[in-house]
Symmetry: C2
Subunit: 347 residues, 2 copies
């Protein structure tokens, strides 16, 4: 029997793999938001000095990856696995970055759940002693996503009130089984999400499509670990935005597991200020990836947070599936992260 | 230190996870090829009774998955992880299948390397005691791939001599840490590939783009495990086709590790007969997925093969990357599979 399996979806990680170092690259709009000061790099414009938006996204992934590796104290060649993905068809941002890094590569597609999917997989592979050091990356770019999923930017089409703004950004995290320096956090549990689809067909309302999946994974995690929301200092979803955030609150309340007040945050709401006119908030693989690496990991490292649930959320539709009338399946993967230091009280 | 790590890319699996059961669904053209009698189902036409080719591909994945689960002796709810992917944008074939199965889902994108990527990941997660039972799926469909990657079929465009024919098919394999019945094979090693790109830009010659990655992974596996081609009854690549097959022979010969005669086969050459006019042979995630489940696993189960390398090969370009002038990065993941029975001699 798999001794680390607790319940239907949650996996215990007895070796508590270390999240050793992270880096977050962000675009100009994100660089004007509330987290501006926390990013390692804010690009001057959406092209990042490249010939296309796709090349810009790729370069941001590569630069974030190399910064995270540098900060981890490891040499690039010591990283034994690279796990990553993005929103572009055939995940070219991750794949072409993997070409530059020349590391053993596992390509992932979890839409905006990719960062946490990567973390969960990497942590399990480290916990199983199949690797010492792994690197997870995830990215998105407003301009590459808009023209692939919606309309060419040149059309200047109007956005609906429920629409979210795809984050331009790339996050990278180095995980280690045997860290040579104090880790920023440790992962104790991974919870792998199921695909949940309640029939939302509006591709401009992905928060509503993803919220049921977020509730499903959260409830599984609480049941499997015999915990409640009160056992965590923070529960952070990836990119539900305002609509999905409010819906998740209602869904959890209805299940007798209310997420109360300041304990629940959404990366899509943390990354932009209301006056930035993003409508329902941020989205994209890069959203939770940059908030984790710029904001959450440093807070865990400093002991300002003791134990959190980090849960990236994804909407698994494609242009083809939407055009064929399909609804939008959602998924959410969760990681329980612990501070390596005694929690500082009164913070 | 990660004790199961041997060398730069290879992982030892001390628990030798079992490949418990498999199933292979194939399209009509594949059903006229040399492996016709081995498929669990040959669809009457490319629509498989569905309203679109995309729905047909999805239905084949679901039916293959359920057949493999049924054959494994497990109940659907006992499968703790579903890993899968396909060639379609946002891997909708796998994601929408995951919606039907409602199992914890890890979406993968490795292009045509997906089947082996899934097997390697699942085997590591079982070996690490993070799950008892996992299901891997991979699929492709000639009609969905052609219209996404090349031209609408209605154009009737000519194919170049180096072009390969995307296999219509879906393969599913159930892996288990604690099999309740004799397994078909056991996995002893996984070798995770690096992205290799020697600059091939012709999307109609993917065999040439993937062969260097195949050589890279094979050489790493041999070096890490201190073995040579002579230690395996069969080395099977996923879908290099005739061009890539011949190139891999030359590359390995040049590295002093010749793949001799009958010991080396390519799934893309096994699945069609020369008179079926597929030009360089078969390709697609479904290619190695159906050949593994229809042909290789049964031969291992019967002891007709003792130890093999199963290596799926992928070309990681997208329409956008090709249109922007990028070359085609290749990747190959390998699994060492052993027969559960004493090899029958003279077979």
């Amino acid at each position: 029997m798999a001794v680390k399996r607790i319940g239907q979806q949650t996996i215990l990680l007895p070796k508590k793999p270390a999240l050793l170092a992270g880096a977050a690259w962000a675009g100009p709009k994100e660089g004007k938001g509330p987290l501006a000061a926390l990013f390692d790099c804010v690009t001057e414009d959406e092209t990042y000095g490249q010939q296309s938006f796709e090349l810009a996204e790729r370069q941001m992934v590569l630069d974030a990856a190399r910064a995270a590796i540098g900060r981890s104290g490891l040499r690039e060649g010591e990283i034994q696995l690279l796990l990553g993905g993005d929103l572009l068809n055939q995940i070219i941002s991750a794949s072409f970055t993997a070409r530059e890094l020349a590391l053993p590569f596992l390509g992932l597609y979890g839409a905006c759940s990719t960062m946490c999917q990567g973390l969960c997989l990497a942590a399990m592979l480290l916990d199983g002693e199949h690797a010492d050091h792994a690197l997870c990356v995830a990215s998105s770019h407003f301009c590459t996503a808009e023209r692939q999923y919606r309309f060419p930017l040149e059309y200047g089409n109007q956005r609906t009130p429920t629409a979210q703004w795809t984050v331009t950004g790339a996050g990278a995290t180095v995980l280690s089984l045997s860290p040579g320096k104090p880790p920023m956090a440790r992962m104790t549990h991974a919870c792998i999400g199921r695909v949940v689809d309640l029939g939302v067909t509006d591709a401009n309302n992905m928060g509503a499509a993803m919220a049921p999946a977020a509730a499903d994974t959260l409830l599984a995690l609480f049941e499997d670990t015999h915990t409640t929301p009160a056992d965590y200092d923070l529960i952070v979803t990836g990119d539900l935005g305002q609509v999905g955030h409010d819906l998740l609150l209602r869904l959890m309340d209805g299940q007798g597991m209310p997420l109360i007040g300041e304990r629940y945050r959404d990366c899509g709401l943390m990354i932009y200020a209301p006056e930035q006119d993003t409508h329902a908030g941020g989205s994209g693989c890069g959203c939770s990836a940059v908030v984790l690496n710029a904001c959450l990991l440093p807070m865990l490292a400093r002991g300002e947070l003791g134990r959190i649930i980090f849960m990236s959320t994804g909407a698994l539709m494609s242009v083809t599936s939407s055009q064929q009338g399909e609804s939008i399946p959602g998924i959410a993967h969760a990681a329980v992260l612990e501070s390596p230091v005694e929690k500082r009280t009164g913070v």
